[in-house]
């Protein structure tokens, strides 16, 4: 078990694994997103209350869900960095931050666009919007901290610590703002009991959700590969790989 894990965590073997895995993730993302968005934006019936404006959920909900999941993933990788000092985990932390920040930004912008017709204002001080904004700040903080360091390993460790402290913070922020004020409509998919969404609307939403997850996995994996290659550029496996690429 442990030898297997060690082999996987070694940069060259992970790089090769990612090389094999990434195209499938990318393909899956394209297929699912194409299906989800086409179905959702064209075929799904309009909402009886929100009319066509609700269709933005096919972008908004997946982006918001992914933004939080990515932060948790970053914090978990951060714990691994702090405790075991595994290089691969360092690359994971550093690679997730920009992807997560973009997803958070997308969730925020689409949320605001949705808010205008629904609530009559682009921005309302509601729990989920506000905590999503704080999440964006936390992501940007990790990116800024990473940029400020010269040494890649020290940078990754500092980012890991910040991500861990931030991850404890996220639920508290969420809860504090919720306590403070809430205007946001209740969660539609994960509500207990019967789903309050028609299957024609739900199917493309699930597809878009899965597609976005796969896309982020693809983007993060590719970033990890770049980061590994850059860090290990002095070693023989990276040189071999790079020379192979230039020959082609």
């Amino acid at each position: 078990m442990w030898t297997w894990f060690h082999r996987l965590a070694s940069p060259p073997s992970f790089y090769r694994l990612a090389e094999r895995l990434a195209p499938w993730l990318g393909l899956g993302a394209v297929v699912l997103l194409a299906f989800g968005w086409f179905y959702g934006l064209v075929y799904a019936p309009a909402d009886y209350q929100q009319k066509d404006a609700f269709r933005i959920i096919y972008v908004h909900v997946p982006a918001a869900a992914v933004s939080l999941s990515l932060y948790s993933a970053m914090a978990i990788a951060g714990v691994i960095v702090v405790i075991w000092r595994i290089k691969l985990a360092e690359c994971v932390v550093v690679s997730i931050a920009p992807v997560g920040a973009s997803m958070t930004a997308i969730a925020l912008v689409t949320g605001m666009l949705w808010g205008k017709p629904m609530w009559g204002a682009y921005w309302v001080w509601d729990a989920r919007l506000t905590s999503e904004l704080v999440l964006l700040f936390l992501y940007l903080g990790v990116i800024g901290l990473h940029e400020a360091f010269d040494d890649a390993r020290a940078a990754a460790r500092a980012c890991s610590l910040l991500a861990i402290v931030g991850s404890i913070n996220v639920p508290i922020v969420k809860f504090s703002v919720e306590w403070w004020n809430s205007l946001h409509q209740g969660s539609t998919i994960f509500k207990m009991g019967k789903a309050s969404i028609s299957p024609d609307m739900a199917l493309p939403l699930y597809a878009a959700l899965a597609g976005t997850f796969l896309f982020c996995a693809y983007a993060v994996l590719r970033r990890i590969q770049n980061e590994l290659l850059w860090r290990e550029r002095g070693t023989s496996w990276a040189k071999e790989h790079l020379s192979a690429v230039t020959v082609h």
Binding site: L138, L140, G141, L145, V165, I172, W180
Partner: protein
């Protein structure tokens, strides 16, 4: 245990040597609140409604002023490496240093907030809760701020990064702190937000020194 006292006594002695540095946060606090008052209409009764948020944000910003220097001087003159390699556990020394920071920069703000709140026209029951909320919340600012100061201590542009990293982390403290005072002003019971504030303080006290210690060690590596 002599190490704990040594760290605390040294911080107090250093504060005595550079009094102006520690006078700045309270001074800044008073100035900001005064300017808020002057920026609004004279004797505007609405000022009292905004007072909790103003006082809380001003207290937060004044505390940030002294955070950047918290570990930097010690790193530059080599004291930090002596502390790291001493027989006093680094986590203990760090915790005491953060405690000293709160005593020097947080406590004066707690004391000053009452007269300032009076000047902004707040009711006396709300002022009591304000002081209590600041007493519970300002140690959190010192602790979380100290963690970020440790994280950025070796960085050339750490001073710029510090507030950007601290402010989002400290959001819940401000929400519950100012929220407790607002509750009283709206005639509600402030107990719930005060309990939350205490819970956050307990969490900070137990976790942040460890995180700050790891950050300091990372600054050497």
């Amino acid at each position: 245990m002599s190490g704990v006292w040594a760290v605390f006594a040294r911080e107090m002695r250093l504060a005595g040597r550079s009094k102006t540095e520690w006078m700045m946060p309270p001074f800044f606090f008073v100035i900001v609140i005064t300017l808020f008052g002057l920026g609004a209409e004279a004797n505007d009764p609405r000022l009292a409604d905004f007072a909790p948020a103003m006082l809380w944000v001003a207290a937060l910003l004044s505390t940030l002023l002294t955070l950047e220097r918290l570990f930097r001087g010690d790193l530059e003159d080599g004291t930090l490496e002596q502390v790291c390699l001493s027989r006093t556990p680094l986590v203990l020394a760090t915790a005491v240093k953060l405690l000293a920071h709160w005593v020097l920069s947080g406590l004066p703000l707690v004391a000053l907030s009452a007269p300032l709140a009076l000047g902004l026209g707040m009711r006396s029951d709300a002022i009591g809760v304000l002081v209590l909320s600041l007493a519970l919340g300002s140690p959190c600012i010192s602790l979380v701020g100290g963690f970020v100061a440790a994280l950025t201590v070796g960085l050339p542009r750490g001073g710029l990064l510090l507030p950007v990293l601290v402010l989002p982390l400290i959001t819940p403290v401000v929400v519950f702190g100012a929220g407790a005072v607002r509750s009283v002003q709206d005639g509600l019971d402030p107990q719930a937000p005060l309990y939350f504030l205490s819970a956050i303080l307990a969490l900070c006290v137990t976790l942040v020194p460890w995180a700050a210690t790891a950050a300091i060690r990372n600054a050497f590596d």
